[in-house]
Amino acid sequence: MIFEDFLRGNAERYPDKTAVVCGNKSLTYSQLWQGVLDKSATLPKGRAVVFRVSQDFEFMFTYFALHVNGSVAVPLEKDVPEEGFNEVASLVSDLKTPEGTADILFTTGTTGKKKGVMISHRAIIADGENLIEGQGFTHDTAFVITGPFNHIASLSKIYPIVIKGATLIITEGMKNVNDFFAALDMPFARFATFLVPSAIRILLQFSGEKLRRYASKIDFIETGAAPISHSDMQKLCETLPQARLYNTYASTETGIISTYNFNDLRCLEGCLGRPMSHSKIIITPDGLISCQGDTIMSGYAGDDELTAKVLKNNTIYTSDFGLIDEDGMLRLKGRVDDVINTGGFKVAPTEVESVALSMPQITDCICVAAPHPILSTALKLIYVASTNVTKKEIALYIKSKLESFKVPVFYEQADKIQRTYNGKIDRKFYRQNQ
């Protein structure tokens, strides 16, 4: 069985039901399925296909059509530089993927090297069923997509929507908040959305009163991908007292694991709920979260060595510290590695440093996490320069080599970078001093 069997079934059962809305255009399930079949005739069969995502119908056609063709979808960030696109295309060109592989989603590893996470159709369906059970997606749900489709947080919402024959509303993101509210003005009864913590901060800070006016229309909001502050959780509960507000534990490697409705009068900080029916959580003796179940990845594309480090005996070993509380709920306690989570995107500081160091004027640097009023955590580059170089020149140089979310927000020139006695960058020193 492939995930698109649900889509074909919906085209037969609910041909006139609105499947997707984008701007002022919409597609019924019948039209969506026909668009997928038309698209499939133009795409390759039985191989991995790399493409840049777009927030529109074209993405839906391409994504589903690749699966229908027995191909593997490899969606990349829309602004991924040509160099990065070609790197991925080359990595997957002759790749043999396990039977049943649907997607390869690329994330950043601790070294900055791209990791292609292979996800099966079985995992996709299990993710969808987990979300339906955990958050109450129904046939009447109208889910507003605000993030990019190459990220598991947004991509995974397609699954419960298609399984339930519900409606997806695609927006360009939270840049134009008016578009977000316009989506909530559409003639649907039960709205839901996923917002990264920084998007929730934007809404509360700049549109709190307006959001309150939509309270009766919002069935639920899910957040995740980065820790949300307790004060924002409380403000959101106060703004939307009747909505279910979920904090979810998920990652590209583990799939959707657990979720917690924090609008429960307790509003527990750092709580991520109980594992859903397709998932199991085990805390290792070192205090790290490990996950089992149908949602977990099949492995890293073309990297058996890295796969073996993370995936053993059908268990994913994460870099997140956590514990299970007395109510059986997961509590997150931080990360073991140097990866920085900024606005829901994970960035390896070494990747940013490596690019910055390739700029002739920069002789040494470190990329660190710094507090930010919207993102909570933003990237900061502390650098040593041999000649005059402006912040703008550094930022533009990094932007020409990496995706936008990897470009530091803050810059500080220093005389030297602190190193340990054996010459390594002293990350601990900078963590304690930011």
């Binding site: 134009n176 908040v177 920084s198 809404l203 700049f206 930022a395 533009l396 932007k399 936008s404 927000v409």
Partner: protein
């Protein structure tokens, strides 16, 4: 006024090309929010997300005009 706003925004968002005639399309949600936050803070004006329209954020001049309108409303 324009020089002051330009200097503030160039410092906060160094990768944005402020001479563009299509500023809004060149920004992401963080950049738009940063503009709102920086200008609200500096000029003690009440800017909210609904002010961040493609029209108001089309050029640096339209951003300056937005700030001037808000200052006059104070």
């Amino acid at each position: 006024m324009k020089e002051k706003i330009l200097s503030l925004l160039e410092d906060a968002l160094p990768t944005v090309d402020w001479s563009s005639d299509f500023l809004f399309s060149a920004m992401d949600s963080l950049a738009v929010t940063t503009v709102l936050a920086v200008l609200s803070d500096e000029f003690k004006i009440n800017l909210d997300s609904e002010d961040a329209t493609p029209k108001n954020f089309m050029t640096i001049d339209s951003i300056v005009a937005l700030v001037e309108t808000k200052l006059n409303e104070k």
